[in-house]
Amino acid sequence: MKLRRVALSGFKTFARRNEIVLETGLTAIVGPNGSGKSNLVDAIRWALGETSARELRGARMDEVIYAGGNGRGPMGMAQVELTLDNEEGRLPTEDVEVAIGRRVTRGGDSEYRINGARTRLRDLERLLASTGLTQSGYAVVAQNDVDAIIQANPAQRRTLVEEAA
């Protein structure tokens, strides 16, 4: 099971459509300070159902939409699509490949899609439930957040072990 592709447009500094195709193994993402590496990580967390604007370093959720820059106006919509390979059937669905999408417009609500079909956040959460990709999981570790497990209290750490059950 792996993440095959991330496609994003209008999301933070990724104004133009960009796509990254991923292999198994160890992939490194590099680039200067402020170039957009953590924005890419935020895009993955957002597509997986992140509901807190603060976790994405903003005050409101529509701050994920490209706000404009030197000589380029702001955009009206942000969208991210993750393509997961489900050959081993770890996700509770028949599909061999699962595309998870999220889209938001200024002032509007988020729209979620699984393989193109609109779905509710609750259904997405149910699909991801036992994979560690949930909001309390540790599969995506944000910048400066690695020792959150050390700072957590024993009850919070228990939840992590329970999720692995």
């Binding site: 792996k2 160890l26 590099v30 680039g31 380029r72 990709l133 690695v146 072990v161 059950a165």
Partner: protein, 184 residues
């Protein structure tokens, strides 16, 4: 439920002990279940709400981490150094991965607090696990860049927008752009 938890806790604790030793040569670490907090006065005597048979959340044991780098006394986690804390946290995340692997992992500059020797040990461990597990790591560290099988670069254009492109790593010069990724 309790029996299932105990089995999983045992497995995570086993892997945590092993992975900690791989990352901290000569060190020891274990996971321990805390004593569940004593029921307060009114709970002992009266009715405890909730369906019969379910255990109240607060009455469950928590998980404690005991980590002891080589040569040192066992001390509170808060006294560990920046690098020791990061490495202990990574050992715990990977112990959970061993028991219930996530489809993929994304680590954003987790190697920043580590010295060269510990970056080397951590990356070696990731490479060992990466034959069956996908890891994506954002990094500025040349040791991590050199070890990665695939490298992606992110550049910032003059209008404050990002572009993704495939790069390769050259010793001494750092990441060099290969070809521009087809931006469709």
């Amino acid at each position: 439920i309790e029996r299932r938890f105990d089995a999983v806790f045992g497995a995570v604790a086993y892997h945590f002990r092993l992975l900690f030793q791989e990352l901290f040569p000569g060190g020891h670490a274990t996971l321990r279940l805390t004593e569940p907090p004593p029921l307060s006065e009114d709970e002992d005597e009266g009715e405890v709400e909730g369906e019969p048979g379910t255990v109240r959340r607060e009455a469950l044991a928590g998980v404690e981490i005991l980590a002891q780098p080589a040569g040192k006394r066992l001390q509170a986690l808060s006294l560990l150094s920046g690098g020791e804390r990061a490495l202990t946290a990574l050992a715990m995340i990977l112990a959970l991965q061993q028991v219930n692997p996530s489809p993929f992992y994304v680590f954003d500059e987790v190697d920043a607090p580590l010295d060269d020797a510990n970056v080397g040990r951590f990356v070696k461990l990731l490479l060992r696990l990466s034959s069956t597990q996908q890891f994506i790591i954002v990094t500025h560290n040349h040791i991590t860049m050199a070890a990665a099988e695939v490298l992606y670069g992110v550049t910032m254009d003059g209008d404050g927008t990002s572009t993704l492109l495939s790069v390769r790593f050259e010793e001494g010069r750092g990441p060099i752009p290969q070809r521009r990724e087809a931006v469709t």
